[in-house]
Structures are given as structure tokens and as C-alpha cells.
Amino acid sequence: MKIVILVKQVPEADKVAVDPETGTLIREGVDSILNPYCEYALDQAAKLKLEFPELNIEITAITMGPPQAKAVLYRCLELGADKGYLLSDRKFAGSDVWATSTALKEGVMHIEPDFDLILAGKQAIDGDTAQVPAETAEQLGVPQITYGVDVKLNGKRVEVKRETEIGYQVLSVRMPALVTMSKGSNIRRIPSMKQVLDSRSKPVETLTAADMNIDEDKIGLKASPTQVDKIFAPPAKTGGEIIEGSDPKVAAKKLLDYLVENKFIKG
């Protein structure tokens, strides 16, 4: 059985900020990491591989990005992926959701055309769009289940517990299919020394658009229906009154006074 994991390298979002004076991104000291939701997807794949040894599950991690995005593939190999592919080409620059999913689709079809299951993070913590996996599924012509928290294999079908607004639903679909993962019981693991050593013998390959025979008109900025018009800092917020150093009793009284004064509590 072949499982493909689509992963993304992201900056640690908390640390990215905009200089309010110049409007530029402050990026000193911002590390790049494997998107946490992609890591949950990989954890899920690794669990399936352990659970079903008879299926000979092979896990392939694919990412698109600049040359330095290779780092997240090495991380995937340490965490259980068997091989990694980086789709990297200046021609991919400026790709929006559509163009990114086109490149990923071409990548999957070039690398693992007879995949059974594609797992991806439900969203990336930098863009938070949650759209690339679904558009990729559409372009590949396979069904999708989004916001999964648990994946079970059942013969030719996959059963996914999915987050809904009121709880969960369990959906079943015949493979090949694409599933995006929320956290669930999956975790971000620390690889063992053995996993780290083993990962060094696993292959990582970089592919350009030409390597995959992708038509240049279908990728990058030119093929992107959406374009960034402007980037700017959000309006700065200033806080209101802050009470400090009060006894809990006094603090509780002040809270009550505020609520009464503002008519949240009526007498």
C-alpha cells in the first residue's frame, strides 16, 4: 500500500510580526518548522504502517518549496516516511492555491501515480487557508475527507472520524482518496536516535518543473488566479484599564463593579 504525505515548511507563526513603522516583516530569529498538522498526518501514517505490517505500507513525503524546504523532508524521514521529494523550481514562485495544487498534483502523478491514500495537514499555520489539499484532491480526481482526527483502514475503504461544528462524524470512502488531518490523538513526536540514523540512508530527491514535464503555463504566478495586491500591518490595538496588585477580594469587587456599570449584570 502506498501512502503519500503532502507537507509544508512554515515559519513559526507566533514569531512573525510586522514593523509598524516600515510595514515590513520582522523575520530575525524566526525558525522554519514542519507544519504541525502535517506532522499529525505523518504520525497517522506511521501508526497505520505499524498496525498493518502485512500491507507493506510505503510512506512518501512530498513538499513544494525553495531548496531549504528539504529540511522538512529530512524531518519526515526521521518520523517514519520512507522517501522524500522536494518540488523546487523558480518557475513555481508566486503560486497561489490553484497553482500550488497543480504542482502537487503533477508531483504526485510523477512520483506515486498508483497511490492508495494521500494524507495532509488540515491547514498550514502560516496561511491557514486549508484549501490546497482539497484543490489537489479535485485536480487528482479523488474524493476527500477533511478535518480528520482518526483514520482506519477497512479493506479497500478508509474510515475517517471527522470534526464537525457540533462534534464528529464518521465517513467512509473507497481508496484512492485524500484525507486532511486535524490533531486527534496524533502527536508531534521526537524521533529516536535509531530513527535519526536510519533516516540517513533514505532517499531525498529534488524535482524541477522540467523533471516532471509540467507545462510552464500551468504553474507559478502566471497560472495563479489570485494575486497579492498589498501586504500591511493590522491596525494596532491599545488596551483599556488594567488593575494590578489587588487583593483577590478587591479584584473580584472591581470586576463586579465593571460588569454592573456596563449593564452586563442587572440589578
Partner: protein, 402 residues
């Protein structure tokens, strides 16, 4: 590709300073700008260059072709409440914004209403601003499915050629919209917080990026329809006008059981019946500062006393202390209650983007440096475990007296 006109470049370094990604530098030896691999072609430097030395080649579409697309569409998402089908608030919120966009464009506003028996929702949609309701009823649309809904909506879009399509950024909206964008090769901007029409009659879509640390405005200049998703509680719900009239247009739906590939095996309601943090007027929200699951008891008591609903930050959902439908923030829900009281929430940006539209924000936290205080109207630096019991006591006394 971002091109540098070497003749025109003076090496002034303005591009280097304005680039949000550090993707363009002036090489000291040549004193000319050089584009690096991480350039995203966002175009910020092109506008900033005073010497027209930078350019990005972008393709154009004829105005004739663009003019063929008109009408603003809204997906009329509904939900089941106590067994009844009711329209979701986000769909009504989108009708309010959609009306504004349609008026600016001089186009009509239409709702895509899909389901098994949903005709009874149509008049209310017209009262909330719709001119047309496309009624798509079919046995197989009884429950939401990616395949069924994407197929029907794509077909209506292809036939009717709208200029704009708006979706609620709910779990199902975020499942559906990219599927349609993928099928029709369209631009799609997720989780917009602002929508407007610019001087070129384009949809100007504003959204937060990097967890809300920066804002980006986005256009889809060459493709139609322009599609966006918007989170619940971002736009206000319009007031219904019962005298408004509109037309209901029935759409023939052709679906076969085999065209819906996913099957629903089970539905699980994980939170208490009636808890909907998106609609609550008062939210008592807790974060990591709560310390243990046992401490929820007192928070629930407090919520009961003030007539509020309990919500929380992602940390608590990850710990399994709070069901995810009660999570506020980027990976949870966006809320806008009249009163939001945050106990022991530090206020990571991902949390703040989910609650800053609340009318009044009160924060209690023992760390004076906690970012939550920057958005709070009223803040108390102190220990929530000490303050809450005192507060409940005082509140009970106050209620007795009055």
C-alpha cells in the same frame, strides 16, 4: 518572474527595505538589485521603486469577457437544530455583505440553496437581501457531501456566470469551496475579514496571514467568478425586510448515488445540546491558566451565574479538557459576543484573531505582560483561582440585595 532593469536600477535599496520577505537585495559590488529564490512575486517592491526598474509580467483578460459575468452568489448553508432545518447565521451575514457588493456593482444578489426539502428557507433569504434563490432540491442533497454539493454548485456557476461567489468558512464551506475552485480553475481567498469592490470593479479581499500578524489584500484579476470564504461573526447580520420580494428559481438536479463517493456512517454530537459559542452573548473563556480539568467546575458555576457559555483556547482542546466545538481561535471558531471574559488566557495571536471582534473584552491573568491585556477593555492582573470564587460570592450577594 520579477525582472530587474539593470540600466534603470540606481541601487537605492528601497526595494530591499520594502520587501516583506527579504527576497531582493542590492549587491554591494554591482550596486544593482538582485532577486533571490524566496521571492513570492507579491509586487510590493514594484510599486515602491521610483525608477521603474522592477516589473512583473502579468497576463490580462479582456473587459468584454469579464463583463459576461454578473451576479453575486452566496452559498445558503443550513444546519439542523432540534431536527429542524434552519439557515446558518453566516449565510445571512454573507447576504448583508453580498447585498453591499451587488449594489456597488449594480448586479443582483442570489443564493444557492441546496438540500432535500429546503424551499421553506427561501423567503427568509429574500427578506435578508437576496434577489434570486436558486433552489436545488434532490434526495441525495439531504446531507452535505463534498461530491454532491460541489457538483451541483459548479454546474450552476458554469451556467449562470456570477462575478462573485461567497462561502461561509465553516468546516463544510472550507471543504466545498476549494473543490469548486479546483474544478473551475478559479481563485479562492479563504477566511476574508474584509470584502469590497475597487475602482476596477474587482473584488478586493482582505485576510489575515501568519496568524493575524500581517494583513494581505488579494485580487483575482483574470478569472471569474471571484470566490471568497468568510468566517462566521466577521460581518454583521442584516435586518430582515419582510416587504422585500424576489424570485425563486428551481434548478434541475441530476445526481446519481454513485456520484457521491463518501458515505456517512455515524454522526456524533460531542458537546452539550444547545452550546453554540458562535451565538452566545456572554462567553467565559479559559486557557492554560486553568491548571487542571477539575477546575472547570468553578468556571461552569461562574458561567451559570452570569448567564454565559464556556469556551476556551486551543491548549485545552489539545489536552482533551474541552471539546473542539468550544474552541476559540484560528483553528477553532471566530466569536463576537457582547461580553468575552478571558481567564488564564495569555492571548497568542491565533487566539486573538478569533475573538477581537467581541464588543467588550475582560481579561484576568497573572502575567501583566500577557498579550491579552492589549486587546482587553478591562484587565485584572491576578490569580483566577482566587478571584473566581470571590467573584461568585460577591455576585450572589449582589443578586440577593437587588
Amino acid at each position: 518572474m520579477l525582472e530587474v532593469d539593470i540600466e534603470a536600477c540606481t541601487g537605492c535599496k528601497v526595494c530591499e527595505k520594502v520587501c516583506p520577505f527579504g527576497a531582493i537585495v542590492v549587491v554591494p559590488e554591482t550596486k544593482k538589485a538582485k532577486v533571490l529564490d524566496n521571492c513570492t512575486l507579491c509586487g510590493t517592491c514594484v510599486n515602491a521603486c521610483s525608477f521603474d526598474a522592477l516589473s512583473i509580467e502579468r497576463k490580462a483578460i479582456s473587459e468584454e469577457d469579464l463583463a459576461k459575468f454578473n451576479k453575486v452568489f452566496v452559498w445558503g448553508e443550513w444546519e439542523k437544530k432540534d431536527g429542524k432545518i434552519v439557515i446558518k447565521n453566516v449565510a445571512l451575514e454573507l447576504l448583508g455583505k453580498g447585498r453591499e457588493l451587488a449594489d456597488k456593482l449594480g448586479e443582483s444578489l442570489a443564493v444557492l440553496l441546496l438540500g432535500k426539502e429546503v424551499e421553506h428557507l427561501a423567503q427568509n433569504l429574500i427578506h435578508h437581501g437576496a434577489d434570486i434563490v436558486y433552489l436545488c432540491e434532490h434526495e441525495l442533497l439531504e446531507e452535505y457531501s463534498t461530491d454532491g454539493y460541489a457538483t451541483v454548485i459548479s454546474t450552476v456557476i458554469a451556467a449562470e456566470k456570477p462575478s462573485v461567489v461567497l462561502y461561509g468558512a465553516t468546516p463544510n464551506g472550507r471543504d466545498l469551496a476549494p473543490r469548486i475552485a479546483g474544478r473551475l480553475a478559479l481563485g479562492l481567498t479563504a477566511d476574508c475579514t474584509g470584502l469590497d469592490i475597487n475602482e476596477n470593479r474587482q473584488l478586493l479581499q482582505t485576510r489575515p496571514a501568519f496568524g493575524g500578524n500581517i494583513m494581505a489584500s488579494i485580487l483575482s484579476p483574470y478569472t471569474r467568478p471571484q470566490m471568497s470564504s468568510v468566517r462566521p461573526n466577521v460581518f454583521p447580520k442584516p435586518k430582515p425586510d419582510e416587504n422585500r420580494t424576489g424570485e425563486i428559481e428551481r434548478v434541475d438536479v441530476n445526481l446519481k448515488p454513485l456520484s457521491i463517493r463518501t458515505k456517512i456512517i455515524e454522526e456524533i454530537i460531542s458537546h452539550e445540546e444547545g452550546i453554540n459559542i458562535e451565538e452566545a452573548q456572554i462567553l467565559i473563556s479559559v486557557g492554560r491558566g486553568i491548571g487542571s480539568k477539575e477546575n472547570f467546575k468553578i468556571v461552569e458555576d461562574l458561567a451559570k451565574e452570569v448567564g454565559g457559555t464556556v469556551s476556551g483556547s486551543r491548549a485545552l482542546v489539545d489536552l482533551g479538557w474541552l471539546p473542539h466545538p468550544q474552541q476559540v481561535g484560528q483553528s477553532g471558531k471566530t466569536v463576537a459576543p457582547t461580553l468575552y471574559i478571558a481567564f488564564g488566557i495569555s492571548g497568542a495571536i491565533q487566539h486573538l484573531v478569533g475573538m477581537t471582534s467581541s464588543d467588550t473584552i475582560i481579561a484576568v491573568n497573572n502575567d501583566v505582560e500577557a498579550p491579552i491585556f492589549k486587546v482587553a477593555d478591562f484587565g485584572i492582573v491576578g490569580n483566577m483561582h482566587e478571584i473566581i470564587p470571590e467573584f461568585i460570592q460577591l455576585l450572589k450577594e449582589y443578586k440577593q440585595k437587588n
